[in-house]
């Protein structure tokens, strides 16, 4: 082995080591988005939550150790129109006065190969908890990482839309949740 090759390998090893040490744990909320798509009368409608909190710990070298907790502030909903925003906070939908937040807590994360991963966890909305599986991709770029994923839920499982809204002929049962999380890697605080 020539010295230059050795130095090259050493550099690679150092780089790999530093990459392994990168745990993405500081979510950049201003660069993250939590949105959803639903169908009403066959028309796809986009919505989003402008306020949410996210705690994340993701080490690409140890995906099984990753964890995520996401809390959406339901009152920050944009459900497509001002009247829909008012309606969806009411007792038949989110009942946001009693249940102001939706929460996702991951239980396991596993690698699916390439940059694809899968988070399994519990989603709680309106006091009802369901298991969900959210496939996502991870793209690391220096000290920041982007996570993009989506999964669908059935609104009836969470009693979202009761009474006159319970039928699916106007608002479909299936709701697609789309998330984009950007996080930085912060060193552990020194004492």
């Amino acid at each position: 082995m020539k010295p230059i090759q050795f130095i090259g390998l050493l550099c690679l090893a150092v780089l790999a080591g530093s990459a392994q040490a990168a745990v993405f744990n500081a979510v950049q909320l201003d660069k993250s988005r939590l949105s959803f798509t639903f169908r009403q009368m066959g028309v796809p409608v986009q919505g989003s939550f402008s306020r949410f909190a996210a705690q994340l710990s993701f080490d690409p070298a140890k995906p099984a150790a990753a964890s995520a907790v996401i809390d959406a502030d339901l009152s920050s909903v944009d459900a497509g129109s001002p009247e829909a925003n008012d309606e969806v906070l009411g007792p038949q939908w989110f009942n946001a006065k009693v249940f102001p937040r939706a929460r996702f807590v991951s239980s396991t994360v596993r690698a699916l190969g390439g940059n694809r991963y899968e988070a399994v966890g519990k989603l709680t909305i309106k006091g009802r908890t369901q298991n969900v599986t959210a496939p996502f991709t991870y793209v690391g770029q220096g000290a920041t990482a982007r996570f993009d994923g989506a999964f669908s839920l059935k609104r009836a499982d969470f009693a979202i839309g009761e009474g006159e809204w319970a039928a699916f002929d106007t608002v479909a049962n299936e709701i697609q949740i789309v998330f984009h999380i950007q996080a930085a890697s912060l060193p552990a605080p020194r004492k």
Binding site: M41, G42, V43, Q46, E87, T170, V171
Partner: protein
């Protein structure tokens, strides 16, 4: 007998008559539904009636295309020579404006829906592409335009119907009768 002699140029085709009245019904129903629906409280019924209104608007637009094609291929009868020139010009101007509104009203409805963030999906199955992206201010402006074009159309339709009645009841000419749905049947009966 005079009427019989003038019949070849005087009469509208059965198709033109059917298209005219079908459009009249569609406009009246869609207009009334539009007037009624926007004051509704949000409910599944409101979402349905909005969709029905949009589907009716798309149907009216398609019907208009058929009408225009038919009109190009089948020259409509001339206005009676008994009418003064200014009246004939007025009638033609109103007809021209009505055609313009039959294009502009559904188009502004579609654009307004897009700008408000709701794609139009014909009968819930056929998505019509959005020309505009969601934009609240533009959506509100288009809503106002759609509304005022509709009031203009209401005024013109009222004038159109009123003038037809005036021709029938005061001038006692055949302007209304030649567009009446039973005109051909009557004509046939007269001939036999």
């Amino acid at each position: 007998m005079i009427m019989t002699a003038r019949q070849p140029t005087q009469i509208y085709t059965r198709t033109a008559i059917a298209l005219h009245w079908l459009m009249a019904v569609l406009i009246l129903v869609t207009f009334s539904v539009g007037l009624y629906m926007h004051g509704l409280h949000l409910s599944p019924f409101k979402l349905k009636i909005y969709s029905w209104h949009k589907w009716a608007g798309v149907t009216a637009f398609l019907l208009l295309l058929v009408r225009l094609l038919w009109r190009v291929a089948h020259r409509p009868p001339e206005l009676p020579e008994s009418m003064p020139v200014w009246q004939r010009m007025g009638a033609q101007a109103v007809h021209g404006l009505l055609y313009l509104l039959m294009i502009a009203v559904p188009l502004t409805g579609w654009l307004m829906s897009s700008a408000k963030g709701f794609q139009t999906v014909y009968f819930g199955v056929l998505p019509i592409p959005d020309l505009l992206a969601k934009n609240t201010e533009l959506g509100n402006a288009l809503r106002a335009i759609h509304e005022w074009l509709n009031y203009l159309m209401l005024a013109l339709v009222t004038g159109h119907a009123g003038m037809a009645l005036k021709h029938h009841l005061i001038d006692r000419d055949d302007i209304l009768v030649r567009m009446a749905p039973r005109r051909r049947a009557i004509a046939k009966k007269e001939r036999t």
